[in-house]
């Protein structure tokens, strides 16, 4: 990384993030939550970290919606805080990852406009955690058509990809090319700030390795979903550059043959972390279990890195991943309860380490 390190303050952000990580729900909390109904879950959350958000939103929503919006708002609060605290190179590194929520917001708005939802409903689903500020999101929400949104985004990292996808959208009237363009723009810019690392044994190198792992896992996930669905789609269209595991051609070949794909992952650097998950995939044929295992492996990867360089960007990234897992887990419990799943089924959906 050629940029200077000035203004980077990993000590401060680390101290705050570690305190917050200690407040995340642990296995004991999940065990309790799984046995509760949605009302009780909401009550339980009100007595924890989520108190402020619960009280703010309690009068407007109820049931699972309340839990969902509370989770989103709490997530946004914590991630905005992290961006506020960090400076210099640290900010660049974290912002590159948190742009994930810009991509999420942009996709939400595109889908909302496509489905003619009122802008208040779209606004409720936004997670204000990325780099887009409130003013820009408000302008995006005011726009009534897809073309207008694409035009507004021309100054952002999503601009060029969206411009290309717009033509396809106008031909087919399907939203998929646009959504795809947003995702690809995010993942391809993920490596911008970590692109070349000269020092192999440095936090920057580990950060890069982590992001590559994330891209690899995303590619694996997409590949498996494609091969399971049996849809006749060119996997290269969904391939994200920058990972270490596959290139586009290889993935196209492997996608038709799950056994080979599994063997390929087993031989890779991730084989050890994922061996349990791979066994499960081969035997039980359950994609959900495998995807959860991928999430857990990514978390373990991040935790492992944060032990190597305790005062750097890596523990902060590990916290971000852990917080996302918690949000996903609570959401899974609440949605599972609403859908009437039993406790064992819900526990199978949780990602815990």
């Amino acid at each position: 990384m050629s940029k200077s390190d000035s203004g980077s303050n990993p000590e401060y952000v680390n101290a705050r993030v570690r305190a917050r990580r200690a407040k995340l729900f642990d296995d004991e909390d999940y065990r309790k939550l799984v046995r509760m109904g949605t009302g009780e879950i909401a009550r339980y959350m009100e007595e924890s970290e989520y108190e402020t958000e619960m009280n703010e939103l309690g009068s407007r929503y109820n049931g699972v919606d309340l839990i969902e919006y509370t989770l989103n708002r709490n997530l946004a609060k914590h991630f905005e805080d992290i961006l506020d605290w960090s400076g210099g190179q640290l900010y660049d590194q974290l912002a590159a990852y948190l742009r994930k929520f810009d991509a999420w917001n942009l996709k939400t708005i595109l889908r909302g406009v496509y489905a003619d939802s009122p802008s208040e409903e779209i606004e409720a689903d936004l997670i204000r955690a990325g780099e887009f500020d409130d003013a820009f999101l408000a302008r995006l929400l005011e726009v009534q058509d897809i073309e207008g949104i694409v035009e507004l985004c021309s100054g952002t990292i999503f601009g060029p990809g969206l411009d290309e996808a717009l033509e396809q959208y106008q031909e087919t009237q399907a939203l998929v090319p646009l959504e795809n363009a947003v995702d690809r723009a995010f993942y391809e810019h993920l490596l911008d700030d970590a692109g070349t690392v000269t020092d192999v044994d440095s936090p920057a190198a580990l950060y890069l390795e982590f992001l590559q792992a994330e891209i690899d896992f995303r590619n694996v996930r997409n590949a498996l979903r494609l091969s399971r669905s049996g849809a006749d789609i060119d996997p290269a269209e969904y391939f994200i550059e920058g990972g270490r595991l596959f290139d586009a051609d290889e993935l196209t070949q492997l996608v038709t043959n799950t056994d080979e794909l599994v063997a390929r992952i087993r031989d890779s650097a991730y084989g050890d972390d994922l061996s349990a998950a791979l066994n499960e995939l081969e035997e039980a044929e359950s994609l959900i279990g495998f995807e959860n295992a991928l999430d857990a492996a990514l978390q373990e990867y991040a935790d492992h890195f944060s032990n190597s360089f305790p005062i750097s960007v890596t523990p902060i990234l590990a916290y971000i991943i852990a917080k996302e897992r918690e949000t996903d887990n609570i959401r899974a419990i609440a949605r599972g309860k609403e859908a009437g799943l039993n406790e064992d089924e819900i526990e199978a959906e949780l990602v815990t380490i």
Binding site: N9, E11, Y12, V13, N14, A15, R16, R18, A19, R20, A22, W85, I311
Partner: protein, 97 residues
């Protein structure tokens, strides 16, 4: 060596004329070292203080962060922050030996 220099000085009087008074002092035994013992101790203490300050920078930032999250008490934060100051204090020993 000084005699050799002095010999050389005799040979080329003009070019080394400026050095001669100093050389005479040296030869007369009035030499003053450029760095006295006290001066060296002062530099050592200064370096130790710079090191302590650099260490406190990181600890102080982390302590304030932890304080903001209410995860430690103020006393612990202050104690941890000034802990590297002991390095500067130990360096004072150099003054008295």
């Amino acid at each position: 060596m000084f005699e050799a220099l002095a010999d050389a000085g005799m040979l080329t009087m003009d070019s080394v004329a400026n050095f001669l008074p100093m050389q005479e002092e040296v030869l007369n035994g009035n030499a003053q070292p450029a760095l006295t013992q006290k001066g060296a101790a002062a530099i050592g203490i200064g370096l130790a203080a710079i090191g302590a300050g650099y260490a406190e920078r990181g600890i102080g930032a982390a302590a304030v962060g932890a304080l903001a999250e209410d995860s430690i008490s103020t006393g612990i934060a202050v104690f941890l922050t000034v802990l590297p100051e002991t390095l500067a204090i130990f360096a004072l020993v150099a003054l008295f030996v």
